[in-house]
Amino acid sequence: MPRSYLDFERPIAELTSKIEELSSMGEDAGVNIAEEVEKLRTKRDKLIKQIYAKVDRWQMTQLARHPDRPYFLDYVPLMFDGFQELHGDRAFGDDGAIVGGMAYFREHAVMLVGHQKGRDTKEKIRRNFGMARPEGYRKALRLFQLAERFEMPVMTFIDTAGAWPGVDAEERGQSEAIARNLMELSAIRVPVICTVIGEGGSGGALAIGVGDRLYMQEFTTYSVISPEGCAAILWHDREYAEQAAEALKPTAKDLKDLNLIDGIIPEPMGGAHGDVEKTAELMGDVLEQALSGLLATPLPDLLEQRQKRLRQLGLFSSAG
């Protein structure tokens, strides 16, 4: 499948097609093509570095939503063995927007839960573009509790524009489903590691995002509301999304500065969509280290630390 390029990635796309053109001319062209191609590649790498070094918050939002960005299920075969998907909430249905199941992560049996947006049109519809309904969050909760019974650490992967804003979701208690997950995750008796791998969209993200560790990949965002939604409310115009993105400070670096995440997981040059294998390896290494640390912590300490961590969230002053 041909790659898609964002507006600010255009110069990269142009160089890439030039390289491809030259390479396809082959040896019969007479001139020293290999050398020329090598030159262009070096130039492209420099360009990628330059462009990615100064992406602004709106560009970061677009990168987090990049159509070529790897999704949860792209990482599963690269990071885990023996994945067995577990479907359904046992009450209403199976929500394709959230995928869950058990697997081995570098020798540890773990429970995985992640959003899944869907790649092609058909899959996007089946997965509702990664926007979960109550049954999705209830499936996640069922799997968290299963993991708790069998002492399996939980690893979640966040990538959603938000919880589905639909009539059906409201009728089945979207609020209740999210609220319950927040409460139960705060005290679940196994380590929980959460990672934002794309879009961290508000309550729909948080519903599988409460745990002992929270990481964000380098080119991802986490926000209380989408820049478009924020612009519509505060500027009365969605066209102000760029300004809203700046104001909301939703990047991994922003959240690190606010001390809301434990770390930023580096991505290969040019972002996760350039090299999925390398991205999976970089993420796996960070998560493995986090997991070993949490597994070495006695359970009562783990739970106490999690409660403390949640209790101290927020910045305010005391007028005295």
Binding site: E170, S175, I178, M183, S202, L206, L248, L310, F316
Partner: protein, 290 residues
């Protein structure tokens, strides 16, 4: 003592009330049934239209007056102030929005904490003030809710949460979102400690407040006609591109869909709460005595 005698005893607070949402003049036209109602009569029925039962919005201060037994309650935790961690500005600076809201409402943020008696039972309560930036929950509101819950844990008394909120406060970014996790974590401690926790959802209760602490009570009540939901009706309409069902996201709709325990008329709320607290705590009282 019922609300009538309380009214007679403290006419100044009842009739003076707070400035916002309190129509002036001798007569009020009910926006729902369009009947003209004598102002004093409206206030005597706790700002519920005596003709049609429409529940008018009231301030957190009025709510406290209506809820607690006379001279038994005090406001607490008033020293917390919102910071501006993101240095947020849209068309207006967040700092200025806070200043303006404080001036307008007289409160420092969107939640008031109280300790007082309801039907003789001491209760720790947090009440949202919708007039303060749409009752949005930022770090101060989150902290106050937690302090209210922790007070209930310490004193082993029930916790009452009265919501009226548009959701998380955008101007504090992810820090606001995290208040959902923070309050929910402490709700778990209430559950484990068997502290009765009752939520009263009033108009409106949406977004991040709805999808966290509002739904974690042991018992969830709502006022008639209150709009309650995760996504706002306009957002849903734009997303699904279809007309919304009649009465969608109203308290009655939620009751029908099995999402709340009951709808309670404001005029019967005190007696209702007294009854519920008594029932929830009877066994625990006996154990304490035995």
């Amino acid at each position: 003592m019922n609300w009538i005698t309380r009214l007679i005893e403290r006419p100044s607070t009842m009739l003076g009330g707070s400035k916002q949402d309190m129509p002036e003049g001798l007569w009020i036209k009910c926006p729902d049934c369009c009947e003209a109602v004598y102002n004093k009569e409206m206030q005597r029925s706790l700002m519920v239209c005596p003709k049609c039962g429409h529940h008018h919005r009231i301030s957190a201060a009025q709510r406290a007056e209506f809820l607690f037994d006379a001279n038994t309650f005090e406001q607490l935790d008033t020293d917390l102030r919102s910071q501006d961690p993101l240095d947020f500005r849209d068309k207006k600076k967040y700092r200025d929005r806070i200043k303006d809201a404080s001036k307008k409402v007289g409160d420092e943020d969107s939640v008031r904490n109280y300790l007082g008696d309801i039907g003789g039972q001491t209760v720790s309560a947090s009440i949202f003030e919708f007039g303060f930036m749409g009752g949005s929950m930022g770090a101060v509101a989150g902290e106050k809710i937690v302090l209210g819950m922790e007070r209930a844990l310490e004193r082993r008394c029930p916790y009452l949460l009265v919501t009226a909120s548009g959701g998380a406060r955008m101007q504090e970014g992810v820090l606001s979102l995290m208040q959902m996790a923070k309050t929910s974590a402490v709700a778990k401690r209430l559950k484990d400690a068997r502290i009765p926790f009752i939520c009263l959802l009033t108009h409106p209760t949406m977004g991040g407040v709805s999808a966290s602490i509002a739904w974690l009570g042991d018992i969830i009540l709502a006022e008639p006609g209150a709009l309650i939901g995760f996504a706002g009706p306009r957002v849903i309409k734009e997303t699904v591109n279809q007309e919304l069902p009649e009465g969608f996201q109203r308290a009655e709709f939620l009751l029908q869909h099995g999402l709340i325990d009951d709808i309670v008329d404001r005029r019967e709320l005190r007696d209702g709460l007294k009854n519920l607290f008594g029932q929830l705590l009877q066994r625990i009282y006996r154990q304490a005595e035995g």
